[in-house]
C-alpha cells in the first residue's frame, strides 16, 4: 500500500515564527492538506496575535483551533496558547492537561495523537527550538509508519530541538529550512 499523507503536523519553539513564515509562506496556494502547528509561546495577550501575523505571510487560511473543529484540507490550524492540541478522528480536540517539558501546547502531544489517529498518513516536521519537546512525538510518528522531517540544525536559529530528534533516530529526512516548503508541496502532490 502506498502511504498517502493525510495530515501535516509542525512543531517549533524558539525562533519558530521566522521558520514558520518560511515554510508556510512557501506552500502552493492550492496545497490540499490540513496543517496543524504547535508553536511554544506564552499566554499573554500579544501572543494571541500569532495567527494574524502568520496570515500576512501565507495564502492558505490560518486560524487558532477551536475544540472539535473539523480537519479540513488546505487550512492551517494553530494550537491556541495554554491548550494542548490533539487529533481525533476527523477533528481536533483540546486539553488543559499538565504541561509537557514546561510547554502547553506541547509538540509531543500533537504528534503522538496525530500518529495514533492517522498512522502512516502523518508527515511530521520539527523546526528550530531550544527544547526536548518533539522527539517522543517524532518517534511515535515513525513507529506508526509516518514520515518525519527535521530542519537542518545548521540552518536553525536554535538547533537543540531538531538535533535531539535526529540523534534519537526519529527523523527520516533532514532538510535546510528553505527546502521544507518545497518538500511539502511535492509530498502533497503525491497525495492527489
Amino acid at each position: 500500500m502506498v502511504s498517502k499523507v493525510q495530515l501535516v503536523v509542525i512543531g517549533t519553539s524558539m525562533g519558530g515564527f521566522r521558520a514558520l513564515e518560511s515554510v508556510l509562506g512557501g506552500l502552493s496556494p492550492d496545497f490540499p492538506l490540513a496543517i496543524a502547528v504547535v508553536q511554544h509561546r506564552g499566554t499573554d495577550v500579544a501572543q494571541s496575535q500569532l495567527s494574524r501575523l502568520l496570515q500576512l505571510k501565507c495564502t492558505l487560511p490560518v486560524n487558532e483551533c477551536n475544540d472539535k473543529e473539523a480537519i479540513v484540507g488546505g487550512r492551517i490550524y494553530l494550537a491556541p496558547s495554554d491548550y494542548h492540541l490533539l487529533v481525533d478522528e476527523g477533528r481536533f480536540a483540546l486539553s488543559v492537561d499538565e504541561r509537557v517539558y514546561y510547554a502547553r501546547p506541547s509538540i509531543d502531544v500533537l504528534f503522538e495523537s496525530a500518529a495514533d489517529t492517522y498512522h502512516q498518513g502523518v508527515l511530521g516536521v520539527l523546526l528550530t527550538g531550544a527544547s526536548a519537546d518533539g522527539t517522543r512525538g517524532a518517534a511515535r510518528i515513525k513507529q506508526r509508519g509516518g514520515t518525519v522531517l527535521a530542519q537542518d540544525p545548521r540552518t536553525a536559529e536554535s538547533p537543540v530541538m531538531p538535533q535531539a530528534a535526529i540523534s534519537a533516530g526519529a527523523v527520516d529526512h533532514v532538510l535546510p529550512l528553505e527546502e521544507i516548503g518545497a518538500y511539502l508541496n511535492v509530498a502533497s502532490a503525491v497525495h492527489r
Partner: protein
Amino acid sequence: MGNASNQLPPEPPRVDADGERSAPVVVDTPSPLPLAMETKTGTDEELETIELQILTEAVFRRYGLDFRNYAVASLRRRVRLAMMEEGAQTVSGLMERLLHDPPAMERLLLRLSINVTAMFRDPGFFLALRQKIVPHLRSYPFVRIWHAGCSTGEEVYSMAILLQEEGLYDRCRIYATDMNEVALQRARDGIVSCDQMQEHSTSYLRAGGHGSLSDYYTANYGHAIFRAGLRKNVVFSQHNLVTDGSFNEFNLILCRNVMIYFNETLQNRVHKLLYSSLRRYGVLGLGRKESLRGTPHERDYESVDELERLFRRPK
C-alpha cells in the same frame, strides 16, 4: 460441517442410561491447532482502541463511573500516563488492576477528572464578565450562579472576588459543582500553592481587579489560604454532568474547559442540560476555545462577547 477433525471441543464421554460408560469415541487424527490466530484488527492502535472501549465499559460496570463518552484522544493519553504510573504494559493490564484494586481506580479517577485551572484563567474572560455581565446581574434582587465542573475551585474564588469588588456578592449564591470529591474538598479548603501567586496576581490585575490579590488571602507555609468570607455564599456540591440532571435555574452558568474532554454525544447532552438550567436572559460562559457550533442550542443563544465566549439565552 462434516469434517470430523475440525470438531471442537471433543465430545464428552457418553453415558448410558444405566450409568455405565460406553466405549470412548476414538479420533484417529488429532485436531490440528491453528498455526496462527487470525485477527480482525490490523494494528496495535486498533487493538488499543478496542481495549479502551472495554476499559471504560468495565469501569462503568464495576464502579458506576462513566467515561464511555469521553473524547478518545485525551482519554487515550491519560490512560497511557496511568499505565506508566501503574507499571502496566497494556490497557488490558491496567484494566485488570483497576477492577481488582480500588485504590488504583482512585488514582485513575483523579487523572481523568481533575482539570488543571488557575485564578482568573483567561483574564479577558473575567474582565468581560465584570464589564458586560455584572451590570445586567445588578438588575436582579437575587442572583444564582452555577460553576459546573469547578475542579479545585480557583475560578470560583476568582468569581467571588470579582463579585465582592462589584458590591454584588451579598446578593449572589454560587453553586460550585464537580464530579470529583477530592477536587471539591480542595476547593472547599480554599488553599492554593504560593508558587503561582505571582502569575495569579498578574491575571487578577488584567481581569480588572480593583486592589491587590493579596488582600484576599493569607500566606502560610508556602500556601495561600483564601479568606473564609469569600466562600460565605458558595455551595460546593458533587454533581456529575454525565449522569445528573438540572437542579435549579440560573442567571449565569460557567462551564469552561470541561466539555473539551467529552465526545460530541456527551457534549450535546451537557449543552441541553445547561440550556435548560438557564433562566430567561441567563448567560452561559464557555472556555476560550469552545464553540456552540454544531451543538443542539447553537441557534438559541445570542452572543454577548464572541471572543470571550459569553452567550445569552434570549427567551
